[in-house]
Each structure stands twice: as structure tokens, then as C-alpha cells.
């Protein structure tokens, strides 16, 4: 056990932790995306899905707590590693030229922190309804008496500043994933000449899916799209 | 000076085994009570330090490098010999022994050479067990190549980085002992003197190159593994920091210096492109397997190589040595190149170069096959010279490379000072007056892994602890001398850099004591060296202090020793009135211009004994007898 504890604190172990937690978060992001895209299938589908989640009770809470733990671990480790990395080069070069690294790689902490800020806003916005109390209000129900998630989303994204914030946050999440997903393979030691395409392409592909998928909703709504069944 | 080689009795093939049987052993529990200092952690020193620590001795190792991994051994490219006979081409311990004695032109001790051939096989086993990634055949067995004109394939190699891989193996073994606390490793610490009292080596005095601190280090035995002195020529294929200080200071404390004039000039160096050049780069000898060496037939022909028609090309090695052709030994190939250039046929900068041409090889086996064999060497050449050897021939010229001379040692690798052992290139070695390719790595590792760890035990068991601590008077005296010398150097306050003196000395040595030597030339050198030395001591400039990292001061100390040692080298060359191996005296050659060895008068090792700064050194002789390899003239015709 002590070896495992030491391992998790070591550089390689911490990297593994980053990758595993990142992977879990990515799983959530993708799941979340697939769920939300149901808005294009209409109010009925989306609200039923949301109700199904709500009804899973302990399972939902388990997942929520798990997600929070993973998120905290990811963030805490990220901060610890980044501080250690800065300390490893106390004196900066007068002239430094990078040859290979990317903007995405160099800004992981920043993109991550902005995503964090966004996540908090997102929770306050839709889940807890702090910013828009009417979203959590009693009246936000559909004809079947379920929480009218579809309507809430439409109302939320009809605000131009809110949609813009979402799009910007998604772009940063994309940036984060562009480097994150590619390097996840390296961190976990998944490496084989025949898998090289994964490392090269996976980051961009996943980032594209997440950004396009998540942005499609606010952009569509701004363009006037109203899901079938939603009565404003 | 008493020179007892201590060669064991018995048939040559049994001497080493018998000797090991008869040696006194140190009780395992007592080994840690014996402190052994090892100066130098190249192949010889690192392998010795690791092996002796494994046996249980308390080892303290020194190098002026920041890490043992940077020793000059790292640069060896070609390979390491062993008598494994894996290719089944008729090799044997006997043949390796025979080739080495003969290749050395009969100026080495038969018993030592035979032992070297014997343990050569253990070295390969050892290195493989350590994880040295030698080249392999498709079946997974070790690959061999023929090297340096040997008639059998006995050379093991790791791409063009054999020295690197062997050194890393020894360095790793050493690192393991450091980790276990069995070796105290002192890097960036330069030995500046040996302490001898009551006829035994008691320790050394060192300078910490970072703090400038001068420290006495006492031990029960001292081992020098400090490499060769080719840099006496300033330009050589050796790393820039290689120097003679350790062995020369030991000489001044009473150790005999043997055959200092036996230096090897390697035929395939890249000729310097101008005065700025700080070091010559070696092109591997293996290139001569496929490259053809030639010069223009007409003296002073300045046409580009590719415009010189076949009829105007003189493949002089093939012409002079039809049976060996381009694969004649190093000394022969080097001299032949010099002869052509002296006669005005040279090419390249200053006419000091000959062509090494791959045109025919490329036509014969194709560009790809040539690239597979020599690609990295071609790239290296291209990079340095900006000329593409696939299209135009390389231009090469001989360059100082290795020194067969060194401190005299007996069969136990002990110098003439009891308790002072010398291994690797630093001793006068098993290579006589000419070393065969791929046998320096073999000798360094043989000494370090398989010979010294035994023989030093015998010495310690017999002599017991030294019993002299580092604060004894003998140490403080030497320490004071070392400090005084540093102070004197710093106080000169002149105008010229140590390098400028080194370069001046190097040019003189190359002209007068290089590939060929004459009485007049050597006498002139013996007049000029003291002049350069005097100029050095009155005009050298060493800014900064002795109390921190001062590379100019380090360099100056080494140059000062070269300036004395060079005289010894010329004196030895003058005294040896014959031509043998790397030592060629113009006065002693056959009618065809080949080396004329004079066995009746010079079949000995010249062992020089220091007599004070104002007196000439005394010459002692170790006569060599050849019972197994009959004295014969080497012929490559």
C-alpha cells in the first residue's frame, strides 16, 4: 500500500492521476453532450431523459459525488504539478524558442481554470438556478409535470451574453482537450507505433466533437430554433 | 631503478592461472580495512573501481570530469576485440596473442599480452551481462566484424559507439557501488601529485575544481587510470582535457616512464581546415574496408578529385602493399600518406591530405549498401567539412590518436613505486610500439575488471596497511608544493593564454617528433622546448583566482606538465635508434623506405627515471625476450 501511495505522489503517478481523472471528466463531458443533443429530438425526449436522471436517486448522487471528487482531484493535482513545474525552473531564459510545443499545451492550467469558472457558472445557471431563479421555480414544468428542461435551455440561450460565454468556454474546453486527450495516451503509457495516429489525431477529433456538439445548441437557439413541443 | 617484471614461471598459457593460484589473498573481513584510491574513471578506472568495491575494498575514485560517463573512453567508435571465435574463422587466444605481439612490432612483454588475450573473452561475457547492447545477428547471437586489417572477425561493436556503451556499462557498475556506499566518488577533483614516502605510495594530493581546495587523500594503494598523452601534440583525436599530469607527476616522484616516444598516429583523421581548429576528428578505420586511398600521380595537381582521370591517380597503398592494400596497419598507412604529401602529391588545405574514395564501392555494391555500412560516418564527415563523400572523395590525413608509452608496470600492473598501480592507456601497456585497432578498449577493461582486482590483493596482503594518515608530514609537504605551484602560475601575470603555448608546443612536436623523426629534428626540439617552457613561465596569463572554478588555471597546470614531458618524449625518440611501430626514424629504414627494426640493439623497453629538474633522466631497460612469437619483420607487401 505504501508503495501505491508513494506512486500516486510521484511525478509519473500524478500524471496517471491527471490522465485518469481527465478521462473520467471526458466521459462525463461526452455523456452530457449526448444527453443534451436530444434537444434536437424535441421537448418530450429531453425532458424524459432529465426525469430519468432525476429518478435514479442514489445512483445520481453517487455519480455526482464521484464527479466532484474526480474534478477536485484533477484540479488539485493540476495545481500541484504546475507549481512544481514552475519551481523546477526558477530562473527564466533570457531568450527561449519553442520548437514543438503548442499553445494548447502551454495553457492547460489557464484553459482548465476558465473551464472551472464556467462549470461553476453553468451549475449556478441551470442546475441550481441561482442566477435565474425562474429556471428552478415551480412553474417550470411541462404538460407531463416534469421539469421543463427544454424550455429552460431555450430561455437561457436566447440571451446573447449567456450564449457567448458558453461558446467561449467550449472553445477553451476544446483547447484543453486538444492537448489533454492526446497526452493522455502518453501519460498512461499507451504507446505503440501502430497507435501513433491516436496520439496525433485523438485530441483534435475529440475537441472538435465536444466544441461543435456543445456549441450547436446555443447557436441553434440564437438562430431561432425552438425544439418541438416547447411553448414559450 | 630495479625493474623486476615479476613474470610468473611456467608455460605461457598457464602463467596467469598459476600466478592467481599463488597469490596471497586478503581475508574477506579485512578487505574493507584497505583503502584504495583510483584516479581516473574511464574504462580502466571505472571497471577497476566497481570490481574492487564488489570485492569489499574501501574505494575512493577521482575524476576531473563532472561525471565518470564523460571520460575520453566514451569516444571510441570501432569496437573491442576478443578471441571468442564466434564466426568460426580460426581465431583463438593464441592467434590474438600472436597478432598483438607482432602488430606491436615486438616491443611488448609476451606474458602480459597472452594474459590479455586470455581474459578478452571474459570481458565480452561481463559486458553482455551488464546490458551493453552489442550488435547482433538476426538469430540473436553476437555479431562480429573484421577491423584494423585483422585476418579474422573478432571485433564486437555497438554501432559506431562501442566506447560509449562499454563505458556506460562500467559507469553503471560503478554507480551501483556508489549507491551501496562502497565507492566514494569524487568528481571535479583533479589529482595534482602522488605522495610517496619510505618507498611506498601513500596517497595523492588533489584540487577541487569548483572550490579550489587542495586536499590530501591517504590510502593503502593508489591506482592511476588517467589515460594517454596524445594531446602533447595539441591537435589529436583525444578529448580536449586528456593530459599527462597524473602520470608525469608520478614519474617525478620516482615511477619509471616507459617508451614515451611510442605514439600512434591514426591514418584517417579529418585534416585541420585552418589555424582555428581545436581538435582533429577521427574517421573510423572501418572506412578503409571499402574506401580506396589515392593521391594525384602528378605532384601539385590541383584539379578537383572527380576530374582526375583514372590514369592520373596513384592508389599508393595498393601499389606499395599489394597483399594488404588499403588495409595495412595504422603506422604503415600513416607514414605512406605523409610520404606522398611530403613529395608534393598531397591534396586539401596546405597539401596535407589524401583522398579516401568510395566511388568504386558505390559502383560495386550500390549507394544504399554503402550508406548502410557507413551512413553515420559519411554524415559526420559531411557535417564537419560541408563536403559530401557520396559525391566527392573524403580528404583524410593522419592524426595523433593513442599513446603506447606510459608508466612502466610489472606483470601485476604495479609501477616502480610500490603501491602505485597503473592501468589502461596510462601504463606502457601491452601494445608495444603499435596498437592494433579495437584493442585499447580490450586492454583497459582487462586491466580493470580482471587483472588489477587480483594483483592488488596480493600487494595489500603482503604489504599490509600503509599506516600513514593524510595529516602526516609527507602529505603536508606535497600539499605545500602544489599550493606553491598554483600561486606561481597565478603570479606570472603575462599576456599569452595557456592554449597558445600548448599549440606552439604541439606544432613543434608534430613536426619533430610526430610521424617520422630525425636526429637533427629531435635535437632541435630538445633545444626549443625549454625555450617555450621559459616563455610560458614568464608570459602566461591566468586571470581569476585559485579559489574557485578557473578553467584557465587548470589548463595552465596541464600545459606546464606537457612542456616538461615533451622533452622526455623527444629524448626517448632520440635514444631509440631504430624504427619500430609508430616510432619511425628516417635514419633507420630499408631501401624501400620501410621501417628498420634493430632487434639486436633495441629489443627493450626504455624506462626513464627522473633525476631532478637539472639533471637528465636515467635510462633503465627492460629487455624483452620472444619465446613464442619469433622475432620477424612485419611485411604487408
Amino acid at each position: 500500500m505504501s508503495s501505491l501511495r508513494n506512486a500516486l505522489r510521484s511525478s509519473v503517478g500524478s500524471k496517471t492521476l491527471m490522465a485518469l481523472t481527465g478521462l473520467a471528466l471526458l466521459g462525463f463531458v461526452l455523456g452530457h453532450l449526448v444527453g443534451n443533443l436530444q434537444i434536437f429530438a424535441g421537448q418530450e425526449k429531453l425532458n424524459a431523459y432529465a426525469q430519468m436522471l432525476k429518478d435514479s436517486g442514489p445512483l445520481l448522487w453517487g455519480a455526482r459525488i464521484g464527479l466532484v471528487v474526480v474534478f477536485v482531484m484533477h484540479i488539485a493535482t493540476a495545481i500541484r504539478l504546475t507549481l512544481a513545474n514552475r519551481a523546477a525552473r526558477p530562473d527564466a531564459y533570457v531568450v527561449q524558442v519553442n520548437q514543438r510545443t503548442t499553445y494548447a499545451a502551454r495553457t492547460m492550467l489557464m484553459s482548465g481554470l476558465i473551464v472551472l469558472a464556467f462549470v461553476i457558472f453553468h451549475l449556478l445557471h441551470f442546475t441550481l438556478g441561482v442566477t435565474h431563479p425562474e429556471f428552478a421555480a415551480e412553474g417550470m414544468v411541462d404538460s407531463a409535470g416534469r421539469h421543463d428542461v427544454a424550455k429552460m435551455v431555450v430561455l437561457g440561450f436566447q440571451s446573447i451574453p449567456v450564449s457567448c460565454a458558453y461558446v467561449v468556454a467550449q472553445l477553451l474546453l476544446g483547447l484543453h482537450l486538444m492537448h489533454g486527450v492526446s497526452s493522455l495516451f502518453q501519460s498512461l503509457g499507451v504507446q505503440h507505433p501502430q497507435l501513433a495516429f491516436l496520439e496525433r489525431g485523438a485530441g483534435r477529433a475529440v475537441a472538435a466533437v465536444v466544441v461543435i456538439g456543445n456549441c450547436s445548441i446555443p447557436l441553434a437557439i440564437l438562430a431561432g430554433f425552438v425544439p418541438e413541443g416547447v411553448v414559450l | 631503478m630495479q625493474l623486476d617484471a615479476k613474470i610468473p614461471d611456467g608455460p605461457i598459457a598457464e602463467k596467469w592461472d598459476r600466478h592467481r593460484r599463488e597469490m596471497k589473498l586478503v581475508n574477506p573481513a579485512n578487505k574493507r580495512k584497505f583503502k584504495v584510491i583510483i584516479v581516473g574513471t574511464g574504462l580502466a578506472g571505472a571497471s577497476a573501481a566497481a570490481s574492487m568495491a564488489e570485492l569489499g575494498y574501501d574505494v575512493e575514485a577521482f575524476t576531473f570530469h563532472d561525471s565518470p560517463r564523460r571520460a575520453h573512453s566514451i569516444a571510441a567508435q570501432g569496437g573491442i576485440n576478443a578471441a571468442k571465435n564466434y564466426p568460426n574463422d580460426g581465431d583463438s587466444i593464441w592467434r590474438l596473442f600472436y597478432d598483438t605481439v607482432k602488430g606491436g612490432d615486438f616491443r611488448a612483454r609476451e606474458a602480459n599480452v597472452h594474459r590479455l588475450a586470455q581474459v578478452s573473452n571474459n570481458i565480452i561475457d561481463q559486458c553482455v551481462a551488464q546490458g551493453v547492447p552489442f550488435a547482433r545477428e538476426y538469430g540473436g547471437l553476437l555479431a562480429n566484424r573484421s577491423f584494423g586489417g585483422a585476418q579474422v572477425s573478432r571485433t564486437f561493436y555497438a554501432r559506431g559507439q562501442t566506447g560509449q556503451q562499454l563505458l556506460l556499462g562500467a559507469y553503471q557498475a560503478l554507480s551501483r557501488q556508489i549507491h551501496l556506499g562502497k565507492v566514494t566518488m569524487r568528481t571535479r577533483e583533479e589529482m595534482l601529485d602522488v605522495v610517496v614516502s619510505d618507498g611506498r605510495a601513500r596517497g595523492i594530493v588533489t584540487r577541487n575544481l569548483v572550490t579550489g581546495e587542495v586536499v590530501s587523500r591517504a590510502a593503502d594503494a593508489v591506482v592511476l587510470a588517467t589515460g594517454g598523452y596524445s594531446n602533447v601534440f595539441f591537435l589529436s583525436t583525444n578529448a580536449k582535457a586528456c593530459n599527462v599530469t597524473a602520470t608525469y607527476r608520478a614519474y617525478k616522484r620516482g615511477a619509471g616512464f616507459a617508451n614515451p616516444c611510442f605514439t600512434q598516429i591514426h591514418p584517417t583523421g579529418i585534416p585541420p581546415s585552418g589555424d582555428h581548429v581545436s581538435k582533429t576528428t577521427l574517421m573510423s578505420e572501418s572506412l578503409r574496408n571499402d574506401g580506396r586511398v589515392w593521391t594525384p600521380t602528378k605532384a601539385g595537381d590541383t584539379r578537383p578529385a572527380n576530374q582526375i582521370p583514372e590514369a592520373d591517380r596513384d592508389y599508393y597503398l595498393e601499389r606499395r602493399y599489394p597483399s594488404f592494400g588499403n588495409l595495412v596497419p595504422r603506422d604503415v598507412a600513416s607514414r605512406a600518406a605523409k610520404e606522398r604529401c611530403d613529395a608534393g602529391h598531397g591534396v586539401g588545405p596546405g597539401g596535407r591530405g589524401v583522398f579516401l574514395d568510395f566511388r568504386d564501392a558505390i559502383q560495386r555494391v550500390g549507394r544504399d549498401a554503402v550508406a548502410a555500412r557507413y551512413g553515420n560516418l559519411f554524415d559526420m564527415y559531411h557535417h564537419i567539412t560541408d563536403s559530401n563523400p557520396y559525391e566527392t572523395p573524403m580528404v583524410i590525413y593522419p592524426a595523433p590518436h593513442y599513446t603506447m608509452g606510459g608508466l612502466w608496470v610489472d606483470y601485476n600492473l604495479m609501477s616502480s613505486i610500490p603501491g602505485l598501480h597503473v592501468i589502461g592507456e596510462a601504463n606502457f601497456s601491452d601494445h608495444g610500439s603499435n596498437r592494433l585497432g579495437a584493442s585499447a578498449l580490450m586492454q583497459g577493461l582487462a586491466d580493470g575488471y580482471f587483472v588489477l582486482p587480483y594483483t592488488i590483493g596480493d600487494f595489500l596482503a603482503r604489504a599490509g596497511n600503509s599506516g600513514v594518515a593524510a595529516d602526516a608530514a609527507c602529505f603536508t609537504e606535497v600539499e605545500a608544493e602544489v599550493n606553491a605551484r598554483t600561486a606561481t602560475l597565478l603570479a606570472v601575470n603575462g599576456k599569452r593564454s595557456p592554449d597558445s603555448f600548448h599549440a606552439e608546443l604541439g606544432r613543434l612536436m608534430w613536426d619533430k617528433c610526430g610521424m617520422s623523426r630525425t636526429r637533427e629534428g629531435l635535437e632541435e626540439a630538445l633545444r626549443r622546448i625549454p625555450e617555450i617552457r621559459a616563455a610560458f613561465w614568464s608570459d602566461v596569463s591566468i586571470p581569476g583566482s585559485g579559489a574557485d572554478l578557473n578553467q584557465t588555471l587548470e589548463k595552465a597546470g596541464r600545459v606546464a606538465d606537457f612542456l616538461e614531458f615533451a622533452e622526455l618524449m623527444c629524448r626517448d625518440a632520440l635514444d631509440r635508434e631504430e624504427s619500430c611501430g609508430g616510432h619511425f626514424r628516417e635514419e633507420y629504414k630499408t631501401e624501400e623506405g620501410e621501417a628498420l627494426r634493430r632487434d639486436d640493439d633495441f629489443c627493450f623497453g626504455s624506462v626513464w627515471e627522473y633525476q631532478g629538474d637539472d639533471a637528465p633522466p636515467a635510462l633503465n631497460k627492460e629487455h624483452f625476450t620472444f619465446e613464442h612469437v619469433p622475432l620477424s619483420t612485419r611485411s604487408y607487401k
Binding site: S3, S10, S11, G13, K15, A88, R89, Y93, V94, V95, Q96, V97, N98, Q99, R100, A105, R106, S183, Q186, S187, L188, Q191 | H65, D66, S67, R69, R70, H72, I74, K84, N122, D125, Q126, C127, V128, A129, Q130, G131, P133, R136, G139, G140, L142, A158, S175, R176, I178, T187, A239, K240, G274, H276, V277, L282, H383, K495, S497, D499, P543, L549
Partner: protein, 249 residues
Amino acid sequence: MRFKLHVWRQSGPNAKGAMEAHDVDGITPEMSFLEMIDLLNEKLLADGKEPIAFEHDCREGICGACSMVIDGVPHSPERAVTTCQVHMRSFQDGDDIHVEPFRAKAFPVLKDLVVDRDAFDRIIQAGGYVSVNTGGTPDANEIQIPKVAAESAMDAAACIGCGACVAACPNASAMLFTAAKIAHLGQLPQGQVERGARARAMVEQMDAEGFGNCTNHYECMDACPKEIHVEWIARMNRDYLKASLTAKD
């Protein structure tokens, strides 16, 4: 050719350093970069000034001693070369050239361009070997090794320990160096017995030295004069994880 050289000067480990400008003249394209510095040092010496301290030895790209950051890249922007293999023909006449030491907490500057790289030695000492004593080893050909494995081990073993990977890494991480040694021995049958223990010991030492962590920028690979590949880092991660999960302590 002539150049304006901006060189880092620092008189000792605890001193404050700064860039110092020098005009160098009379340079030929055939000169190596170090020979250009030699020339400048001769000039400084003639003026009674302290020459620029820098490390070098073999001057042919194998000892790993030379260690300068030239124009922002360890060993220079040229690919697959050490500082000592850089020639002045790679520069334009009149260029400004910036020269700095390798910078990392684990590589403290000793003087000017000289840094202390002992941390690398300590990483090897922690476990970068096969624990065999001298003697008693089997015949070399009793261990058969597929040619591809031997070649691949050699690819990793080609590391010269110069530290350019650390110098280039935005996090001053030593993972490429450490991984290369782990991969060299880990790919050979001789290295299997201690494979896991070696990976753990070396990684732990690497961490203790204060190097940063790899965040997969791969700058190290581009700076490496021997073009050691980052695939070894993935391999090290794998070896390390497996060893940590299966360790008995």
C-alpha cells in the same frame, strides 16, 4: 564573419548573473561554435579579463559535456547536434547570438555557462544498472537477443547525458533522460529481473532532485542531439505503474 555575442556571465553559484555583449570578428564559416568562443576567450585573456567558462571535452558530439542554450534552444536550433558540432556557417554574418547556460533548479549554475549535472548521476546510481558483479557471468552467446530488440535498446542507450532535454523542457523535466536509461535496460533480457524496481527507484530519485513533470510538450525530443524518442517516456510510465501496482512493499 562578425557577430554580436550576448553571453550569460555569472561569477559563481550564488552570484547574480547577467548577459554581457561582445563583438567577435574574424570568424570563418568553417569554425565550430566552440572555436568561435575559444577565439573570444583568447581576446578576453589578452585583455586580462576572465574567459567565459564553458564545458566541453570530446568536441565530436559524444561525451555530452558541452551545454549551451544558443538562441533559445539547447545546443542551438539545428537538429540532432551538440553544441560542439555547430558550425558558424549555420549563422548569418552580423547575427546577434544569445548564449545561456542550461537552466533548471536541479542543474545549478557553477559559473558562466557551466552547470552542475550531478543529479543525472544520482538518478543512475539509484538503479540504472543490472546488478551483476564482475566475473561469474555466462558465455555472452548464451543470452540470445533478437536483433530488433538489441537495436531498439541501442536507440535508447545512445543518450549522452548532456541534459538538453531538461534544458529544453518548459517544466525542466528529466523524464526523457530517465526513461531512456530505463528503456535501454528494460528491453534486454538481462534487465528484466530488476525492471520494475529499477523504474521505481529511478523515478523516485528523479523526483527527489527537483526536476519538473512531463506535460507532454515534447520539446526534449527536438532538442536531443541523439534524437531520443519520447516513446520511451510512455514506456517508463507503463513500467512504473505496473511495478507500483504489483510491488509487495
